[in-house]
Amino acid sequence: MLFTVDPGSPVPLGDQIAASVRRAIADGTVHPGERLPAARALADSLGVNVHTVLRGYQRLREEGLIELRRGRGAVVTGAATSAGRARLVEGVLGLVGQARAIGLSDDELLALVRNGLAGGG
């Protein structure tokens, strides 16, 4: 599993770490049930604050991509759809980025998504 963080980028470091994990899940480098490195170990590896890593892991938990278990640490959720879900979240983030780039408001983007859900069937 490869992690890259660019302190010069406007994207928060925690989000960058989450993006690295998301990519690894999406392309099958990491399998469901596999354990992620311990937050402290990853923080030392990359030279970032351990809370930065924890923020990234929390985000992934909210997206339903990993589970944080007492004693076991961060584990990729065992669902067979994990890779697909990771790609979907990447798609969502890409969508948000595109919308912001053309100046769309959050409500306008949500309206487009609702249209798509209603029409697509």
């Binding site: 490869l2 963080v5 010069g8 590896s45 990359l46």
Partner: protein
């Protein structure tokens, strides 16, 4: 193939000789032996364990035959690759030398003693047995011939990972050894059963060894700005680290645990060492000392590419800070 057959025969020979020694000794002495034989002696030398001649012979031959077979298989597989069986051949000769003395010596100790309880097998016998083992080991070493120069398998190409100037990167993966895990669980299980049913003394050491094997059957491999780190999967220590400064170049290639390294675990061969937990994809480091360090792990190609990039960066940093070239 000729080379492989010779080595296999060389390594099986002492076991065959030891079997022959046991059988001819028995054949010569059988009329002069008590029934049952005295076969176990603690430090005092006074017999405390007895078995029939048949079981004694069966155990002796079986032990020698099984060990001979295992060594033969290892020798056959190792000479197909590179490896250094010279130590293994020496060890095989040593073991068979020890048993080839100890079993017949036990029979001789029993000869002409009407009551097995009076048989003595004093401690100096152990010294003689060890001397036999060492001599035999030396013979084995000579017979094994010179080690084949470590012709490494086709080395992979050194790749690099595109990394921006300020970017930090890390790569990490876990790897498990099915063999060590299975053996460890087996030993731990058998040890636990023995400890409970027979007595703790006989089962506990085996259970402990089994538990250790299980704990060391997996590890986490990490590549980052500090170099290559191999550590247990859960805790931080003990860990093995190769700093960037000691690495010349990293590549990846397929390795065979038995063929290239003679087995699993932390392996030492002439010119190369490694943490070999399974055959397959492996990260191969060429160190500044000229030796090779290998870690079996999936996706070694990415790990190698990152390591090369980080080594380049470390060299560039050093070059920039100090005007004189590093000695």
């Amino acid at each position: 193939m000729h080379h492989s057959k010779r080595r296999t025969l060389v390594i099986a020979l002492p076991f065959a000789l030891a079997c022959a020694a046991v059988l001819t000794t028995y054949a010569a002495l059988r009329d002069r032996l008590p029934d049952p034989l005295a076969t176990h002696f603690p430090a005092s030398g006074k017999a405390d364990g007895f078995s029939g001649a048949g079981s004694f012979l069966a155990v002796a031959i079986a032990l020698l035959a099984v060990q001979g077979a295992i060594f033969a298989v290892l020798a056959h597989r190792s000479s197909r690759g590179t490896g250094s069986p010279r130590l293994m051949v020496a060890f095989a000769y040593g073991v068979s030398g020890l048993l080839g003395y100890a079993f017949p010596a036990t029979l001789f100790a029993n000869a002409d003693v009407p009551d097995a309880a009076d048989v003595r097998f004093p401690m100096w016998q152990l010294a003689v047995a060890l001397a036999c083992a060492l001599t035999a080991g030396g013979v084995g070493r000579l017979l094994a011939g010179a080690d084949a120069p470590s012709a490494a398998g086709p080395a992979g190409e050194p790749h690099r990972l595109p990394l921006g100037k300020g970017e930090a990167a890390g790569w990490t993966r876990t790897v498990t050894s099915g063999v060590l895990l299975a053996v460890g669980l087996g030993l731990a299980g058998v040890g636990a059963v023995l400890a409970f049913t027979v007595n703790p003394g006989s089962g506990l050491p085996m259970a402990v060894v089994g538990a250790l094997a299980v704990l060391l059957s997996g590890c986490r491999v990490t590549v980052d700005r500090r170099g290559l780190t191999v550590s247990p999967p859960v805790v931080r220590l003990p860990r093995l680290r190769v700093p960037l400064g000691r690495i010349e170049e990293a590549t990846s290639r397929r390795v065979d645990a038995v063929g290239d390294f003679g087995g699993w675990g932390y392996r030492i061969r002439p010119g190369r060492r490694g943490v070999v937990l399974r055959s397959g994809d492996a990260l191969c480091l060429r160190l500044s000392t000229g030796k090779e360090f290998v870690v079996t792990v999936d996706d070694a190609r990415t790990a190698a590419a990152l390591l090369n990039t980080l080594v380049d960066r470390a060299r560039a940093d050093l070059g920039g800070d100090r005007p004189a070239a590093a000695g």
